[in-house]
């Protein structure tokens, strides 16, 4: 009898322990936090913090890439796919105590689109009707953002966009209270007020940011933590020591490369590591406008020449070799696609057919931070095997980006450290910004300068499949598009990086939360302290 009661009591305490609220966790980062303004923040470090303080109409089921309404209660899509109507939840409160209404959604979007705000995300929303006039100063408001009543927002699009709901879950569309923005002036990024799970408690520039639980958060019981501390300016090696001493709970920059092998070999430390996928592809762009890379046969030959397994070993197997554009986990990823296997003999054969039996000389650009120069060297060696002499240019990231966006400048670029991680988990984010004709422009990110108008039309058609139930057909359509891209071979896909999150033993949360595909590095609202 007593034993049963004990067992029962024990299981209850275990349950209660699992997610008991309260406590504090500390995250370390090397770089300073540049801004917490959701319209401005555009790196994964400030994204996760912005997502903790703010929220949008849409979000994702925790630990997944499945869209769910967030501040919206629900939404409906017009038959033509060009109008979205969102019903706002009632009683959602900003951290200044005021209730959120539809006008706030309109204000937030227009603020982000206003050129004065200089939002790096404005480009995602140019499909909303009336944005062009608003941005050009011809209209005082965006005509396509309408508020029929205080709890309804209707957004009109120029053409259907199946990724539009993702864009409403992106931080740039997060909802901010006008009065708080106006009060903070240009410094809203350092005085953020949102309606998310946490609110800003203290910010010591260059040292730390402290968030505390938002007691008015609309999801009852969340967040679990009372406080969340972000220590910045922490050298990753020192942060690693701090983690072992219990002064840091999550390594925001991951495991320091020098310690990676030791950690994964140590049975105890390994327990503190969670491995997850990342919607990321690292690739070499082959500039389709520069001779002899303008010849598809040459590009295919180069694809066959690269030993990706060896490159993955260079980075301690922290990635899986890539054969296609889309990463695993992205709708449209084709697990059965084989791509161009490593086959130097066949590569030489193709080069010969293309008229380059003795190879040729070219230039390979790469970012100069480790491990990218080492990876570029491996690629250089592989190319030398088939007679292609690639001169390496390892430069600062901004310089390489500039070279990539300059017409006719960079024959080949290793994208590591720069591209491409998804903005939102939809295959069109791997098409329009980096492979479409519209992106093959000066200053663009289509460094292969690849333009296939037929595929543009097919992608447009796929993006018009917006109705629930069309997801599978749309994924299939994108699968076909990317298969065609690989036939033209504007890229050599190299690998998809994995994520390694290291935490202290007291951090609680499912593995899916700890390597959340959206809230990188971690979905803080669902973290708790184990007791």
């Amino acid at each position: 009898m007593n034993r049963w009661i004990l067992a029962l009591a024990l299981s209850f305490t275990l349950l209660a322990q699992a997610q008991s609220p309260g406590g504090s966790l500390t995250v370390s980062f090397k770089d300073d936090i540049s801004t917490l303004d959701p319209a401005i923040g555009y790196d994964w470090q400030n994204w996760s913090i912005i997502k903790a303080i703010f929220g949008g109409l849409m979000d994702y089921e925790p630990g997944t890439t499945k869209l769910v309404p967030h501040f919206a209660q629900g939404y409906s899509i017009a038959k033509d796919g060009k109008s979205y109507t969102f019903k706002l939840r009632k009683g959602i409160k900003f951290q200044n105590g005021r209730e959120m209404v539809a006008a706030d959604v309109k204000y937030s979007l227009e603020r982000m689109l206003n050129p004065k705000t200089q939002s790096p995300g404005a480009g995602f929303y140019t499909g909303i009707t009336g944005v062009a006039d608003y941005v050009a100063g011809k209209a005082k408001e965006v005509s396509g953002i309408q508020i029929p009543d205080p709890y309804t927002v209707r957004i009109l699009l120029d053409k259907p966009d199946a990724s539009f709901l993702h864009k409403m879950a992106l931080n740039f569309s997060f909802i901010v209270p006008k009065e708080a923005v106006e009060k903070a002036g240009a410094d809203f990024g350092h005085n953020p007020v949102g309606a998310g799970a946490f609110k800003l408690k203290e910010w010591k520039l260059g040292q730390q940011v402290v968030l505390e639980r938002n007691p008015d958060y609309f999801q009852k019981g969340l967040p679990y933590l009372d406080t969340l501390v972000f220590l910045v300016g922490q050298d990753p090696n020192v942060a690693f020591l701090k983690l072992q001493r219990g002064e840091v709970d999550i390594l925001g920059d991951g495991i320091p490369p020098a310690k990676f092998v030791d950690v994964m070999k140590d049975p105890k430390l390994k327990q503190q590591v969670v491995v997850g996928n990342q919607l990321m592809t690292g690739y070499v762009t082959l500039n389709t406008q520069i001779k002899p890379l303008d010849n598809p046969k040459v590009r295919q030959a180069l694809n066959l020449a690269i030993n990706k397994e060896r490159i993955v070993r260079l980075i301690n197997n922290r990635a899986v070799p890539a054969v296609q554009v889309l990463p695993p986990g992205m709708p449209g990823y084709d697990p059965s696609y084989k791509g161009y296997p490593y086959d130097p003999a066949k590569a030489k054969q193709l080069l010969k057919e293309a008229g380059f039996p003795n190879g040729f000389s070219t230039v390979l650009y790469a970012n100069n931070t480790d491990p990218n120069p080492r990876i570029a060297q491996a690629i250089q060696q592989d190319l030398a095997q088939i007679g292609v002499k690639a001169e390496l240019k390892t430069q600062a990231q901004s310089t390489v980006i500039q070279a990539g966006g300059t017409k006719g400048q960079a024959p080949m670029i290793w994208s590591g450290g720069m591209a491409w991680i998804d903005d939102y988990p939809d295959p069109n984010d791997f098409y329009w910004p980096i492979l479409s004709c519209a992106s093959a422009v000066p200053g663009g990110w289509n460094w292969a300068w690849y333009c296939n108008p037929t595929l543009d039309r097919r992608a447009e058609a796929a993006d018009a499949m917006v109705q629930p139930g069309q997801e599978a057909a749309r994924a299939k359509a994108y699968q076909g598009i990317f298969a065609e891209v690989m036939k033209d071979a504007p890229w050599i896909p190299i690998f998809h990086e994995k994520r390694y999150l290291m935490h202290s033993p007291k951090v609680g949360g499912s593995d899916a939360i700890l390597v959340d595909p959206i809230h990188t590095p971690v979905n803080y609202a669902y973290l708790y302290v184990k007791r």
Binding site: I40, Q118, G121, A122, G206, A396, P433
Partner: protein, 306 residues
Amino acid sequence: MMAYLAQRVLQSLGVLWAVTVITFALLYLLPADPARLVAGRSATPEVVERVRHELGLDRPILQRYLGYLGGVLQGDLGRSYLQKIQVSELLASRLVPTLELTLAGVLFELLLGIPAGILAALRRGGWLDQGIMLLSFAGVAAPQFALGLLLLYVLAYKLALFPLGGYGGWEHLVLPALALGLAGGGWYARIMRSSMLEVLSQDYVRTARAKGLAGPVVVYKHALRNALLPIVAMIGTDLGTFMGGVVVVESVFGWPGIGQLTWQAIQTVDIPVILGAVTFTALFIVLANLLADLVYPLLDPRVQYR
């Protein structure tokens, strides 16, 4: 004296002006487009152009420079492209930690370097001299990154005598200052040693000895003051450069100094922050050198400015 001071101040202003011109020109020549970086990777060329306009980067370089100079003269260093807040606010938040680390770093350099240098000079050629010179060489040659990590690992992690980096009270300051002191102290020891040796061979020291003065009195009363002169110049330089930030030491110890700020700004091509930090650093180097010049006559009455 006043005439000399006025001349030196004018010279310093000239140096500062030249620094702004050169930095501005170098940043202008940089093969990276800040407008594109601010506009983000999803930006269309039109958006980039609008951002360029908002940032004022579409104006001719001379106009931009004059605008910057005008701002600086009014104490306005502009706004960070990335953080959107005033550069002066960013610099101000780093000022006190930088000042603390600078002073503590120079203090450790002197505490380690000067006694070691005197000792080495007095025991010239002996094992103590050789040992000190070897250690000072190791201090100068050791990479600061490795030295800092070693100090942290042994004194903070293993022995738990100090915190594992970060900013706070004096206990946070000891290790980064020691790292600076060990590296810089080596130079001081070498300079001090040779300067001391030179002074000790002077006639007036021999006279003092001949008078029958005790060894320590000769060394500390007669020789030291003169031997310190080159050290003063070094202190001036160090105060200036440390105020510009000691990137490596700051990063290893998580010290929120100017160096970290500048380094990050360079990586993100945040031009107003880079310009502001460089101007600020130049100001301190010039000031510290000016100060060193003014201290000379106090130490050595033979030095007189007219």
